[in-house]
C-alpha cells in the first residue's frame, strides 16, 4: 500500500517553506507600514474616488487640487492609459466633494466622469476590523465545537478537533502569507471580501478534513486490530479520488471566474483559489498525519521509518 503518513516530515517541511516566507513578508510589512498587509478603506476608513478623463493626465497635477483644498494626505495614481485616475483620500463630506469636483472640472474641462466613489467613516472602519477578527475567531471556535460533537463517538474526539484546527491555522497562514507577499509586490489591499474569502477557505478546509475523518471513523470500527497508521493510510487513499475530483471541480469553477469574472472580484477569487489548494493539502498532508503523530507520540514519523504496514 502506498504510504502517506510515514513521510509526514517532508510534508510539514513543504508547509513551512510556504508559510515562513509569508510570515517574513507579514513581519516586514508590519515593521515598515504598521500592518501585515495593505488594508483597504473598509477597515481604515477613508475615501476612494475613481475618475475618468478625456485626456491622459499627470497624477501630480490632479493631486495639487486636493492639496490646495487642504487634503494633503491624498494619493493619486493613474490606471491603464492614464485617462483613469484613482484618488485615495481622507473621508470627505458631500459639500467638499462637490467643491472638489468643480475644481477638477475647472482644470480639466467638463468631460470628467465619476467611475466610482467609496467612502467609509473612520469609526465604522475600526468597528469593521474588530468584527472581522471576531468573525474569524467565532467561526473557528464554532467549527471546532461542531467537530468535537460530530466525532464524539470515536476515541479521542478532541484530537480530531485539534488536528482540524491546526490544518485551519495552516490554511489561514498560507493564505494571509501569500496575500502579504502579493500586497508588497502588487499592492493588493485587504477588504471585507478578503475576510469572506478567508472564512470560506476555513469552512472548505474543514469540509475536506471531515470527509477523511469520517472515513477514518468508519474504518476504525471496521478494521479493529489494525495499526492506526495503516487505517489512516487506507482511509486517505480511499477518499483521495473524491478529494481530487471535488477540488479540481472547485478549482475549475474558480479558474473560470478568474478569467471571465470581471476585475472587481479577481482578488477575492484568487485568494480563495490559493486557500482551497492549501485546504486540500493540509487535509491530506497535515491534519491527518498529525492524528497519527498524536496516536504514536511521534511528531515527525522518524521512529518508524522503514517499518512495513501490518
Amino acid at each position: 500500500m502506498f504510504r502517506i503518513v510515514e513521510h509526514r516530515r517532508w510534508y510539514f517541511l513543504l508547509s513551512l517553506l510556504i508559510i515562513v516566507p509569508g510570515l517574513i513578508a507579514m513581519i516586514y510589512s508590519t515593521a515598515t507600514v504598521g500592518r501585515p498587509f495593505k488594508v483597504a478603506i473598509d477597515f481604515t476608513g477613508g475615501a476612494i474616488w475613481e475618475l475618468s478623463f478625456d485626456q491622459p493626465i499627470l497624477p501630480t497635477d490632479l493631486r495639487e487640487i486636493f492639496v490646495n483644498a487642504g487634503l494633503t494626505d491624498t494619493d493619486v495614481t493613474t490606471v491603464g492609459d492614464g485617462k483613469t485616475a484613482q484618488v485615495r483620500l481622507k473621508p470627505i463630506d458631500e459639500d467638499q466633494k462637490v467643491a472638489l469636483m468643480a475644481a477638477i472640472k475647472a482644470k480639466y474641462g467638463a468631460n470628467v466622469s465619476e467611475v466610482q466613489f467609496a467612502l467609509v467613516g473612520p469609526a465604522i472602519g475600526s468597528e469593521v476590523t474588530q468584527a472581522a477578527i471576531l468573525a474569524v475567531f467565532a467561526a473557528s471556535i464554532a467549527i471546532t465545537i461542531f467537530l468535537v460533537i460530530a466525532f464524539r463517538k470515536v476515541p479521542h474526539p478532541v484530537r480530531y478537533g485539534v488536528s482540524a484546527v491546526i490544518g485551519m491555522v495552516h490554511d489561514i497562514l498560507v493564505t494571509l502569507g501569500i496575500f502579504s507577499v502579493l500586497s508588497i509586490l502588487l499592492g493588493w489591499e485587504a477588504d471585507a471580501l478578503l475576510l469572506t474569502a478567508l472564512l470560506t477557505v476555513i469552512s472548505f478546509s474543514v469540509q475536506d478534513k471531515i470527509v477523511v475523518f469520517d472515513r477514518i471513523r468508519e474504518n476504525t470500527a471496521k478494521y479493529r486490530g489494525e495499526l492506526f497508521r495503516v487505517i489512516v493510510n487506507r482511509s486517505l487513499l480511499e477518499t483521495l479520488h473524491r478529494s481530487l475530483a471535488t477540488q479540481l471541480n472547485a478549482l475549475f469553477i474558480m479558474a473560470a471566474l478568474l478569467i471571465f469574472g470581471g476585475a472587481t472580484i479577481r482578488q477575492f477569487i484568487a485568494v480563495m483559489f490559493i486557500g482551497l489548494i492549501s485546504g486540500t493539502y493540509s487535509s491530506i498532508f497535515n491534519a491527518v498525519p498529525i492524528l497519527v503523530s498524536w496516536e504514536e507520540r511521534d511528531l515527525l514519523g522518524t521512529k518508524n521509518v522503514g517499518a512495513t504496514s501490518a
Binding site: V115, G121, I143, L193, A250, F260
Partner: protein
C-alpha cells in the same frame, strides 16, 4: 416502495418544471406573481432578478443615527427614520431603490442609476419640515389639482425644485407660493383614530401656541382646504369642517388603515427623529457594472450547464426570497455548485466501493447514499456555520458583498444536499427499479464502473 419512488420522482419532475418556469427569462402572467407573493404588496410582486449595485451601477449609502447628547435611540425611532428616508428616496423616482435598517442604529440606502449622487445623498440627510398650508376654498377651488403627493412651494420654503429632484412627483402650480399657517413645531402628537363608522383617520394634538394659531385660523376658514405638507410634498389635503379651538383635531378622509398609520408617523416625525450621518458610501459607474455582468454570465453558464436542476432550483429561490445578485453573490452560487458536485461524487465513489466489495448493485446503491450522508451533512454543516457568521457580519455593516456571497453559498449548500440525496437517489432508483439482476450488471456503466 416502488410506488413511493414513482411518487417522489413525479414530485421532483414537477419541482424541476416549476423551477425552470420561474427561472426562465420570460414575462410571467400576473396571477402567477400574485400567487407566489400573496403576502407582499402588489408593487413588490416581481419575478425579475434583483441586481446588486455593482452590477447595475448606482450609489449605496450607509447612514448612522447621530443622537444628541443624552438621547436614546429606540427601534421605533429607527423605523420612523427609515420611513422618512424611504419616502425621500422614492421621490427620486429610481427603479427599485432599497432602504433597510441594518443593526441597531444604521440605515442602508441603495439608489440604483442615480444621476446626481451628491445631491441625492444631501437630500437624504435633510431634516424634514412639516407644515400646515393654506390652499383656499374647497368649493370652486382655485387650485383643484392639489392632491396627495403634489409638490407645493410655501412661504416657509419657496425653493423652486430642479427637474431631476422632482422625478415622478407632480408640481401642478410652480408659480404659486402657498401660505404656511403653522409648522410641525406646534404639533404635539398624531395617532390613528377610528370614527363612528370604523373608518380610520388621524387625530392630532397641538401645543398651546399651536392651539391659539389653529383656533384663530380655522374659525375664519371653515370649508377651506388646509394641506398637510412634509418637505413641500402634500401628505393630505383635508377640508376644515369646524373651527378647531381645543388644540385637538381630526383629519378624516378616504384612508386605508396602513395609509393612516404611515401618515400619522410622518406627521409625528416629520423631522427625522434623530439626525443621520453618512458613515459609508459607494458609487459604482454603470459601465463598470455592465462589463462585469457580461463577463460573469459567461463564466456562470459554463459552470451551471452541468447541474441544470440544481441551478434552476437555486435561481428560483433567488427570485422568491428574493436574493439580490451581486458579483460576490454569483461567485458564491458558482462555488456552491461545486458543493453539489462534491455531494454527488461522495455518493458515487461510495457506491463504486460497495460494488467493488461485492455487494449486489441495488443494495450498493442504497448503501452509497446512507454511508455518504454523514460525510455530506457533517462537512456541509461547517460551511453553513461560517455562512451564518458572515451573514451576521454583513447585516451589521451593510456589507452587501459579504452578505450576498454568504447567502448564496448557504442556499446553494442547502439545495445541493437536497438534490444530491433526494433527486439523485430517486433518479437512480427509477433506472434500476424492477430489473432482474442479470440486466442490472449490464447497467453498471451508469455508475461508471
Amino acid at each position: 416502495m416502488r410506488s413511493r419512488n414513482i411518487l417522489v420522482l413525479g414530485f421532483i419532475i414537477l419541482l424541476a418544471l416549476v423551477a425552470v418556469y420561474i427561472a426562465a427569462p420570460i414575462e410571467h402572467p400576473t396571477w402567477v406573481k400574485n400567487l407566489l407573493f400573496w403576502q407582499q404588496p402588489p408593487e413588490y410582486r416581481s419575478l425579475e432578478f434583483k441586481q446588486g449595485l455593482d452590477l447595475r451601477g448606482g450609489t449605496q449609502v450607509l447612514l448612522q443615527a447621530k443622537p444628541a447628547a443624552g438621547q436614546r435611540i429606540t427601534a421605533a425611532d429607527m423605523e420612523a427614520a427609515r420611513v422618512i428616508v424611504e419616502r425621500r428616496v422614492n421621490a427620486l423616482g429610481l427603479t427599485e431603490p432599497l432602504v433597510q435598517i441594518q443593526g441597531e442604529n444604521r440605515i442602508i440606502v441603495e439608489m440604483p442609476g442615480v444621476d446626481n449622487p451628491d445631491q441625492a445623498v444631501q437630500t437624504l440627510k435633510n431634516t424634514g419640515q412639516l407644515e400646515f398650508v393654506e390652499i383656499g376654498p374647497s368649493v370652486n377651488s382655485p387650485y383643484p389639482r392639489i392632491e396627495q403627493g403634489s409638490y407645493v412651494r410655501t412661504t416657509n420654503n419657496d425653493r423652486v425644485p430642479a427637474e431631476e429632484e422632482l422625478g415622478k412627483t407632480s408640481h401642478p402650480y410652480p408659480d404659486v407660493v402657498f401660505k404656511t399657517v403653522m409648522t410641525g413645531r406646534e404639533l404635539k402628537n398624531a395617532t390613528v383614530i377610528l370614527d363612528q363608522y370604523g373608518k380610520p383617520g388621524i387625530g392630532f394634538e397641538l401645543t398651546d401656541a399651536g392651539a391659539k394659531i389653529f383656533g384663530d385660523y380655522t374659525r375664519e376658514h371653515v370649508g377651506d382646504i388646509l394641506a398637510i405638507v412634509l418637505d413641500n410634498v402634500v401628505l393630505s389635503a383635508p377640508r376644515i369642517q369646524t373651527a378647531i379651538t381645543e388644540g385637538r383635531g381630526e383629519i378624516t378622509g378616504q384612508f386605508a388603515r396602513a395609509e393612516a398609520e404611515s401618515l400619522a408617523v410622518q406627521m409625528r416625525y416629520g423631522a427625522l427623529p434623530v439626525p443621520l450621518e453618512v458613515v459609508n458610501r459607494r458609487t459604482i459607474g454603470a459601465t463598470l457594472g455592465a462589463d462585469s455582468v457580461q463577463a460573469s454570465i459567461t463564466a456562470g453558464l459554463m459552470a451551471a450547464l452541468a447541474l441544470l436542476i440544481y441551478a434552476t432550483l437555486n435561481l428560483a429561490i433567488y427570485k422568491l426570497v428574493p436574493i439580490t445578485l451581486t458579483l460576490p453573490g454569483i461567485a458564491g452560487f458558482l462555488l456552491s455548485t461545486g458543493m453539489a458536485v462534491d455531494a454527488n461524487i461522495l455518493i458515487f465513489e461510495r457506491m463504486k466501493e460497495e460494488l467493488r466489495w461485492g455487494r449486489p448493485l441495488r443494495s450498493a446503491l442504497e448503501a452509497g447514499f446512507t454511508r455518504a450522508w454523514t460525510s455530506i451533512f457533517d462537512s456541509n454543516f461547517s460551511t453553513l456555520i461560517t455562512c451564518a457568521i458572515l451573514i451576521m457580519f454583513g447585516r451589521t455593516f451593510g456589507a452587501q458583498a459579504v452578505l450576498g456571497f454568504a447567502l448564496n453559498l448557504a442556499i446553494g449548500v442547502t439545495v445541493s444536499m437536497f438534490t444530491a440525496v433526494i433527486v439523485t437517489r430517486t433518479f437512480l432508483r427509477a433506472i434500476f427499479q424492477g430489473e432482474r439482476s442479470e440486466a442490472l450488471r449490464e447497467k453498471r456503466w451508469v455508475l461508471g464502473f
